[in-house]
């Protein structure tokens, strides 16, 4: 399972990086979202995958019987997802405003006007 997830994470990072170096701002935001997801899956995977052993403490016991799934990575991911959600929502609004003021989603058009010789 770890190897499958490792490949998935690698793919997400590669796709995210590829999208981020594109000129389209929309693709850049998608790239950011993929990078965030890749990081979340990375935390999930390196926090050890344990199947079907929730960290429940049974009545009358002081600690769960080992091995159990580590709940900390999942808590971290949950927090990171919420933060990522907020940040991506902001980024989407930002690119909408950029699109409104520039009329294009090409990053080259952003700078073309205030630099002499910026356009080809």
């Amino acid at each position: 399972m770890e190897s499958v997830l490792a490949v998935v994470i690698g793919g997400l990072y590669a796709a995210g990086m590829y999208l981020m170096v594109r000129r389209s701002i929309i693709k850049m935001i998608f790239g950011l979202a993929l990078l965030g997801n890749a990081a979340n899956l990375l935390i999930f995977t390196v926090g050890r995958l344990t199947r079907g052993r929730p960290p429940h403490v049974l009545p009358g016991e002081l600690m769960p019987s080992l091995p159990v799934a580590d709940p900390v990575p999942q808590a971290l991911i949950l927090t990171a997802i919420v933060i990522g959600f907020g940040v991506q929502a902001f980024a989407l609004v930002l690119i909408k405003r950029v699109y409104q003021s520039v009329g294009s989603d090409d990053q080259d058009d952003l700078v073309a006007e205030n630099r002499p010789g910026g356009e080809e």
């Binding site: 979340n40 926090g47 930002l94």
Partner: protein, 501 residues
């Protein structure tokens, strides 16, 4: 009671921000809240520093969960000093904003956002947990995104896109580093990490994580080769916003670099010393050369921000008590001096309506005091004795000479000369040279209230820089104490975990 002092620098901006949001349609009330809130923050930061000086490093566990499990707040002298700087800057910028913020910014929540920014900054300084640090970083970032983009002008959008993209990449790296570190060590409490990582030699993943985190925080701190987003975005924001960004945001990056590389990745710091020093050298040079080439005042100053980051990293590269103390002193100095410079730039731009050097000139005849107000922090940043910049650079250079880093010394001195050159050139262009075209005084009228509100924080920060220069001894002793604490991780660990390891 001591625990209260740890929580107050977080509670005060939070409460002020919430109250400010409740007073959404009452800009007068928001303004008052902003000034009162930051004044209280400053007072609580001073109380925190006094407590830390009296009792040593203090720590508190949120929710009373014992140390490696819960979220820890820690304050040593370094972080208390930085919280104090945040308080001073918060107050200065809040007062300055009274005169400089337009209706539009006020109506979309400028004042509450400023408080959220301060909340994130103070949280980053005080937290003792790596994941919690990530959360505070995001609090700070989202506030800064909105502050940068809220003007809505085209070039601000352009700046905001670059700023948002680069900072989010840094956050993704940071998050990946946290995940990997948890996978390897099994804890994210910084003191606990320090304990578990210092017993074993770092091989395999740990140095890689250190590099990943170094890159992430270098992006945030605008260290070469990751600095290019800063001069591309900062200059588009209103002056009050650039001031607080340049004073606090990049410093949070430097603070975290110093913190984790003196506490957690000590082994990597000694092996990675050449890399850190190379980053230092290139950061100083890139910033100074960039600033020399710029024809516009705000761009000059944003490149200057980058250049000064190099000096702060120098202490980390050399890692002796004197060098770290120099870095800490330099951080405090640059926060005051650079901000005074930015604020007086704001006054110049308010008077003349431009910050382009070619269109400025002759201001000395009309505003000799303003000329002095610009010159004092400019000379301080360049490092002219007896101003504060001189002592910070002196300590750093002395430490570098003592350890044989002659190349770094050469570059640091050369960059100082360049800094002097471009700041004095900017000064003479603004104040000395004859203004092109118009020779009658066509300055914008600034009402006496606004003039006071803009001058008070500027004079305050410039005099902080002056005082730090004239009475360098007490501040430097404090920096030295902070540096000694940083170089003795045992005291930090025992303050957090309760036992001497």
């Amino acid at each position: 009671m001591r625990h209260l002092f740890l929580f107050l620098p977080l509670l005060i901006p939070l409460v002020t921000a919430v109250l400010g949001l409740l007073a959404w349609n009452k800009p007068r009330l928001q303004r008052m809240l902003g000034v009162c809130g930051t004044a209280t923050l400053l007072a609580s930061a001073a109380a925190l520093l006094v407590t830390v000086l009296k009792e040593g490093i203090i720590s508190a566990q949120a929710g009373n969960w014992p140390a490696p499990f819960g979220i820890t707040l820690v304050a040593d002298i370094f972080s208390a000093l930085m919280v104090l700087a945040a308080g001073v800057m918060g107050l200065a910028v809040s007062i300055y904003s009274l005169a400089d913020t337009d209706r539009h910014h006020e109506s979309v929540g400028y004042y509450p956002l400023l408080q959220v920014l301060l909340l994130g900054v103070c949280g980053s300084f005080l937290t003792g947990d790596l994941f919690n640090l990530y959360v505070w970083f995001e609090v700070m970032l989202i506030a800064s995104f909105v502050l940068l983009a809220m003007g809505g002008r085209r070039e601000q959008m352009e700046g905001a896109i670059k700023y948002v993209a680069l900072n989010l990449i840094a956050s993704a790296f940071f998050l990946a580093g946290i995940g990997l570190l948890y996978g390897v060590v099994g804890t994210l409490n910084m003191a606990d990490l320090a304990v578990r990582l210092r017993a074993v030699p770092h091989v395999g993943t740990v140095p890689v994580i250190a590099v990943l985190l170094f890159c992430a925080f270098s992006i945030k701190a605008a260290v070469f080769p990751f600095f290019f987003w800063l001069p591309a975005s900062y200059h588009t924001a209103p002056v009050a916003v650039i001031t607080i960004f340049s004073a606090l945001l990049t410093k949070v990056g430097v603070y975290v670099l110093i913190r984790i590389f003196t506490l957690i990745f000590i082994q990597e710091t000694s092996t990675g010393q050449p890399v850190i020093l190379a980053a230092t050298i290139f950061t100083m040079m890139a910033g100074a050369l960039g600033a020399t080439a710029q024809p516009e005042l705000r761009r000059i100053l944003t490149f200057c921000v980058v250049s000064q980051i190099g000096y702060m990293l120098m202490g980390l590269g050399i890692m002796t008590p004197l060098a770290l103390a120099g870095s800490i002193f330099f951080m405090l100095h640059i926060i005051a001096a650079k901000s005074a410079l930015f604020l007086s730039t704001g006054i110049v731009s308010r008077l003349t309506g431009t910050t382009e050097l070619a269109r400025l000139g002759g201001l000395y005849h009309k505003r000799p005091l303003l000329a002095a107000l610009f010159l004092v922090p400019a000379l301080s940043v360049a490092g002219i004795p007896p101003l504060s910049g001189f002592w910070g650079k002196l300590a750093l250079i002395q430490a570098a000479l003592g350890t044989g880093h002659y190349l770094t010394v050469t570059v640091a001195l050369g960059v100082s000369i360049l800094t002097l050159y471009y700041l004095v050139r900017a000064w003479s262009e603004i104040f000395w040279k004859k203004r092109q075209g118009t020779d009658n005084d066509e300055y914008h009228h600034v009402s006496p209230t606004h003039r006071r509100q803009m001058l008070v924080p500027t004079v305050l920060l410039a005099s902080v820089s002056l005082l730090m220069g004239i009475a360098a001894e007490p501040v430097f002793r404090l920096s030295l104490l902070a540096a000694r604490q940083l170089l003795d991780p045992g005291s930090y660990i025992s303050a957090v975990l309760g036992v001497r390891p």
